[in-house]
């Protein structure tokens, strides 16, 4: 992927533009293949985003989150 999309919405919006362009039938071969490549990257990105929230809902209390964050910051800093 040339660059990571700004957000899931941005990725989906771009994906829709790509599909509209492909549906228009006006894209030449090179553009079509480039758009398809870009589109596949976007689908991969979006799927990964969905997968990230697809493994079952996790619940944390705020103080647990804060403690996790502090631990990871320490580990990162050490």
């Amino acid at each position: 992927m040339s660059e990571k999309p700004e957000s899931y919405e941005a990725a989906v919006e771009r994906l829709e533009q790509i599909i509209d362009r492909l549906d228009s039938g006006q894209a030449g071969l090179r553009e079509t293949l480039e758009l398809c490549g870009e589109g596949r990257d976007l689908v991969t990105y979006c799927t990964a985003e969905l997968d990230a929230v697809g493994e079952g809902l996790k619940e944390l209390k705020l103080d647990e989150l804060a403690a996790n964050l502090a631990a990871s910051t320490e580990a990162g800093g050490a």
Binding site: Y8, E9, L15, G39, V43, E59, L60, L65, A66
Partner: protein
């Protein structure tokens, strides 16, 4: 609410005794009072532009972590979780439990919201509780709480009370929902199941487009692919042609060279012949010269030069004997340096 006090008149001769209540102050109390204060605060916050701020924030379609402020034990918590699961959303919910109904509620909720917003992972915050009277929900009309929410950089979804209840937090929040279930949908705008189907369709469209684009151009591509072979064949033909031409040319060249050599040989031979002929001429010339010398030796002039004279008749014919001289009578004597006339006078 009326302030005042009882009054008693014992009566007199012309008046009956009486008991009355004297009202000194009257003001709205209960819901009426709360509503009036709420309305005043609402006007003020609106005038300050605090109602628009949250609405301008970007709400992520698919947050990975959301914060929730609610009572630890309550239907709202359960409803919200159910709503999130119906979305097919399996992210992280960070609970910030707070009392939602007493005089400690507003500061506790405010602190909880601020704590959640301070966590970088938290992409949206839901503030929710079940229905109740305006007094029950009063914490959610707290000025400090509402100002905090309005100024927050994280979008807040409010779902306080039921549909008919309107709290001030609904006005300042990014989005106000009537139920915790709706709040779940607002916090996670994307239905993950539908999104997956959409992505699968998009992937299929992309594959079809890529294959279709290639297939649609296959004849052209095949033609293009044949191009090199055709070009190769053409070049090979051209090459063969050239080879033949070169061979022919080289044969012609050989022939030409042969012809040339022949011509050269001819010239050489000719020259040799000419040289040979020259020698012959020379020889002949020498012979001629010798002949000339020999001839000249026999010429009459040479004889005359030696003192002889030639006798000729009047016609110039040589007179070679006596009878011819007698007959001629007059003759010419030709010497080496000239001719003189003479007369034949006597015969012997």
């Amino acid at each position: 609410m009326i302030a005042g006090g009882p009054d008693y008149y014992p009566g007199g001769g012309q008046a009956s005794p009486s008991f009355s209540f004297r009202a000194t102050h009257v003001r709205l109390a209960g819901e009426g009072d709360l509503l009036a204060r709420l309305e005043a605060l609402r006007k003020q916050l609106k005038a300050e532009g605090l109602f628009q701020l949250q609405g301008q924030l970007r709400r992520p379609a698919l947050p990975k972590t959301i914060g929730v402020v609610t009572a630890e034990s309550g239907a709202a918590r359960r409803d919200l979780l159910a709503g999130l699961e119906r979305r097919g959303w399996g992210g992280t919910v960070v609970w910030a439990f707070a009392p939602v109904q007493d005089r400690h509620a507003a500061p506790a909720i405010t602190a909880a919201i601020q704590d959640l917003a301070a966590q970088p992972q938290v992409e949206a915050i839901v503030v929710t509780r079940g229905g109740g009277s305006l007094a029950d929900l009063w914490a959610f009309c707290d000025e400090t709480l509402c100002r905090t929410v309005a100024m927050l950089r994280v979008p807040v979804v409010s779902a306080v009370g039921h549909e008919r209840d309107s709290t001030l937090i609904d006005d300042v929040a990014a989005i106000a929902c009537s139920t915790p279930t709706h709040a779940a949908e607002a916090a996670v705008p994307l239905d993950c199941g539908t999104a997956r189907l959409g992505l699968e369709r998009a992937a299929a469209v992309l594959s079809r487009a890529a294959e279709g684009a290639v297939r649609a151009r296959t004849p052209h591509l095949v033609a293009l692919a044949r191009g090199p072979a055709r070009a190769l064949r053409r070049e090979r033909l051209a090459l063969n042609q050239k080879t033949r031409e070169i061979r022919a040319a080289s044969e012609r060249g050989i022939a030409g060279r042969l012809g040339f050599q022949r011509r050269v040989a001819g010239v050489v031979l000719e020259r040799a012949a000419r040289r040979a002929a020259g020698a012959e001429m020379e020889r002949r010339r020498a012979a001629l010269h010798r002949a000339e010398v020999a001839l000249r030796a026999h010429e009459p002039e040479r004889t005359l030069e030696r003192g002889y004279a030639l006798v000729e008749d009047r016609q110039g014919e040589p007179v070679t004997d006596v009878s011819a001289a007698s007959a001629a009578e007059r003759v010419k004597l030709r010497f080496a340096d000239g001719t003189v006339g003479a007369r034949i006078e006597e015969n012997r």
